[in-house]
């Protein structure tokens, strides 16, 4: 068990979750207190002692499922047993009095795996979903994976591919539509696992929009349950095929702070947004402390007197005010064309979230035209709204709506260039993919002469720079630094060093 735990901890660290030695010890100490046959309890015990952030929970869960995958005869991998179980489950359901003539079907399914037609399987799935029958659902999931995923040993394909194949064959959308269409009346929605037989008479024939919505969500949540079952099953089979450690590597879910802005899925973007809020506060604290630190200022009379009380009124220990050096001004110029939009959005969020640490933050966005958007962030506590307004209202298209850094930068320099002074730090955000327009790189050099610093943040991996139509090198020579900035972690590091 200790070896297994050590391997598990190593895997968590590989996934980027910081696990300290003392946390590892805590986990080892916790295990004897947990009844080992209780897998959920083990999961929570390990989670509580090893993972100290809600954002890391998903990565932990994935690793846990792989490392402590269910084994044993009840979870045998071969297809026949899965099918047999399906038949059993269907029979049991029929025995408990569920409506429908599934008796013979169940029998047929119990015989052998291939005896069941896809229609029969679809029907079983329908019944499992309609009745919220978890056991049946799990059985259907296992059978479906065995049948549709087409998993072959040693095939170097990720789990998502199998998931996609299985779900496509099950025709989930069709089932949902059927559930919605065939649902009898409105009031008789199923509440328990025992079934949804509506009492005749009490169901009004028409559903209000509210009821339709609730109903759809109920089924949607059951379908999500099915999806999870299928994922579990696929993972189990993959573990059996490749072993825990190899699999853990390929399934590793990135932490929110390591998600690549450019390739984040919708779910991941939501996680990123969540992670951004505490991050911006942490950064603000760090910047403020940096600014307060060190040198002493003029005497603080009040604090000195208050402190002298402990020495009987003699001011032995004089207190001083801390000096607050001037805060830097920030000008953000962001490319918001489709290719880098999500990156620019996060950077604008972050900069505005910590704008209290700068004396002034001004934001500009461009595609091939350029526009100022500072006012959109003012007095708005919800950055999502501001971003939405930027995307709809800002006047950033000049000709065709394809990035033209050269034109945008020179227009910026003409209209706002004079406002850049020796205290201004200029941040340029973009991948510098200029669609082969003229670079006008001298503009950046011109800005650099007047500004305190010019930084270029590029959301592309360094290896792609200056390939194709990327001309970040041409601009880079005029900047203090060109920073690769693909994840929240890199963004945080960069903002932390801003002065």
């Amino acid at each position: 068990m200790l070896d297994l735990l050590a391997g598990f901890v190593a895997e968590l660290r590989m996934a980027g979750i910081p696990v300290s030695l003392s946390e590892h010890l805590d986990a080892a100490e916790a295990i004897p207190h947990i009844p080992l046959e209780d897998r959920e309890a083990l999961k929570y015990a390990l989670g509580a002692s090893l993972v100290k952030s809600g954002a890391h929970w998903r990565a932990f869960e994935t690793a846990f499922e792989v490392y402590f995958a269910l084994r044993g005869p009840a979870y045998a991998i071969d297809a026949d047993s899965a099918t047999g179980e399906l038949g059993d489950e269907a029979r049991r359901t029929d025995g408990s009095g569920l409506a429908g003539s599934g008796g013979q079907r169940g029998q047929g399914a119990g015989g052998s795996g291939d005896a069941m037609t896809p229609e029969e399987l679809a029907d079983l799935l329908y019944r499992a979903l309609a009745g919220a029958n978890q056991a049946l659902l799990a059985a259907v999931a296992r059978h479906a994976v065995a049948r549709f995923a087409g998993m072959e040993p040693g095939r170097p394909v990720g789990g998502t591919y199998y998931l996609y194949r299985t779900l496509r064959n099950l025709d989930i959308d069709g089932v949902l539509a059927r559930l919605m269409a065939e649902h009898p009346g409105g009031a008789g929605t199923p509440r328990t696992a025992s079934g949804d037989e509506p009492a005749p008479g009490d169901a009004p024939p028409e559903l209000t929009p509210l009821e339709v919505r609730l109903l759809r969500e109920e089924y949607q949540s059951r379908i999500d349950m099915l999806r999870r079952e299928i994922e579990d099953e696929i993972r189990r089979r993959l573990v059996a095929d490749r072993g825990s450690e190899a699999l853990a590597k390929s399934l590793r879910a990135p932490l929110p702070e390591d998600i690549d802005f450019m390739h984040a899925s919708r779910e991941e973007l939501a996680a990123l947004r969540q992670a951004l809020r505490p991050l911006s506060r942490k950064l603000a604290v760090r910047l403020a402390r940096k600014r307060r630190h060190g040198r002493k200022g003029p005497l603080d009379f009040r604090a000195t007197v208050r402190h002298s009380l402990s020495t009987g009124g003699v001011p032995v220990d004089p207190r001083f005010r801390f000096p607050r050096p001037a805060k830097p001004e920030i000008v953000v110029i962001a490319d918001i064309s489709g290719s880098v939009a999500s990156f620019a959005r996060f950077t604008l969020h972050l900069v505005h979230a910590i704008s209290s640490q700068f004396s002034q933050v001004r934001s500009f966005v461009f595609i091939d035209g350029v526009d100022e958007v500072t006012s959109f962030f003012e007095g708005v506590d919800d950055p999502v709204e501001a971003v939405h307004r930027i995307n709809t209202e800002a006047d950033v298209v000049w000709v065709d709506g394809h990035s033209d850094y050269g034109h945008a930068l020179s227009v910026f320099n003409e209209r706002w260039g004079t406002e850049i002074g020796p205290r201004t730090s200029v941040l340029l955000l973009g991948d510098a993919r200029n669609n082969y327009h003229a670079s006008q790189a001298w503009v950046v050099g011109d800005i650099r002469k007047r500004a305190r610093h010019v930084y270029w943040l590029n959301p592309e991996p360094r290896a792609y720079w200056d390939s194709g139509d990327s001309i970040v090198g041409e601009y880079g020579v005029h900047c203090d630094e060109v920073v690769e900035c693909r994840t929240l972690r890199q963004l945080e590091r960069f903002v932390g060093m801003l002065e």
Binding site: S20, K52, G54, T208, D382
Partner: protein, 307 residues
């Protein structure tokens, strides 16, 4: 001056953990259910572990999911006293740990002038002149206590360090007096709304419990236990509508406590089942932002009914 339960000495090392409070995870769960707190598997398991390992629990999650309530319920269940330290920006050690009672010390000095310095010094830094604040109080208490450090994310990063000694060693060092150690390890709960990242040092010392909105079944059960006189149908409907609202993109999602308030309101109003009308008229109990209310009523009951 020592009251027999407090040990003041220079020894290090943990105090004895004492008798375990709970036999099994199941007993934690049923015990919490006995005081009307419906714990899920994770919550009960971690409370159980916290007792066995003598570790504080850091409870994190959205506002209004029953973090504070958990500590209160554990106190009620074990029959302990609840000592609460409400954190806020600017909290310092004289508010959290202990403070010398200056006025009383001054009086003491003035009361008999002419004493030798040694005597006097020993005298005025005695426990008599110590004002115990929540953390010290929890450590010193002879009765079983549950210490609740509420909203720990509100204090500054630097202030967190105050908690470290108490949380890991269950002792408080007072330079003039020595070290006050707990005779019995209290159960400690820290809650955080995750408005900022807590320091590694603090997290490392705690068991971490993430409390999220409950799932449908648990929420339904919570409504049924906390709202007397609610019918099963109404509880079910309330839980499902709340789940639906939580899936929307709102500024602030309805919390469990707001859900309970809403259910209570519906019971008081004598609502049997929630139709579009009832939902629209009472949404302001569930949601606190105008834009949220507008959006939710639009999505729930259709655009034609929104005002």
């Amino acid at each position: 001056m020592t009251n027999g339960t407090t040990t003041i000495d220079g020894n290090t090392g943990l105090p004895l953990p004492g008798e375990p409070r709970f036999d099994s995870i199941g007993s934690v769960r049923s015990g919490l259910a006995g005081v009307d707190y419906l714990a899920d598997e994770g919550i009960a398991g971690i409370v159980y572990l916290a007792d066995r390992l003598a570790k504080p629990v850091l409870v994190e999650g959205p506002a209004g999911t029953g973090k504070t309530e958990l500590a209160k319920s554990v106190a009620r269940m074990t029959g302990s006293r609840l000592i609460r330290l409400q954190c806020y920006e600017g909290l310092d050690e004289s508010k959290a740990l202990y403070e010398w009672n200056y006025k009383k010390q001054l009086l003491r000095i003035q009361a008999d002038a002419g004493q030798s310095w040694e005597q006097l010094e020993e005298d005025i830094f005695a426990e008599e002149f110590l004002l115990a604040r929540p953390l010290l109080e929890a450590i010193r208490s002879p009765d079983p206590v549950v210490l609740l450090v509420d909203e720990v994310d509100r204090v500054e990063l630097e202030t967190e360090a105050l908690l470290l000694e108490v949380l890991s060693e269950y002792q408080v060092s007072i330079p003039e007096l020595g070290t006050v150690r707990a005779t019995r390890i209290p159960m400690v709960f820290l809650t955080s709304n995750n408005t900022r990242e807590l320091s590694e040092a603090l997290k490392r010392r705690c068991l971490y419990l993430h409390v999220d909105y409950p799932d449908l079944d648990r929420e339904r059960a919570i409504i049924s236990t906390r709202v007397p006189g609610i019918s099963a149908e109404l509880a079910d409907q309330v839980a499902r509508i709340v789940r639906s609202i939580r899936s929307m993109d709102l500024k602030k999602h309805p919390s469990v406590s707001e859900t309970i308030d809403w259910a209570r309101t519906l019971v008081v109003l004598g609502v049997e089942s929630i139709g579009a009308e009832e939902a629209r008229d009472t949404l302001n109990i569930l949601l606190k932002y105008r834009t949220d209310i507008e959006r939710a009523s639009k999505e729930l009951v259709g655009a034609d009914l929104g005002d």
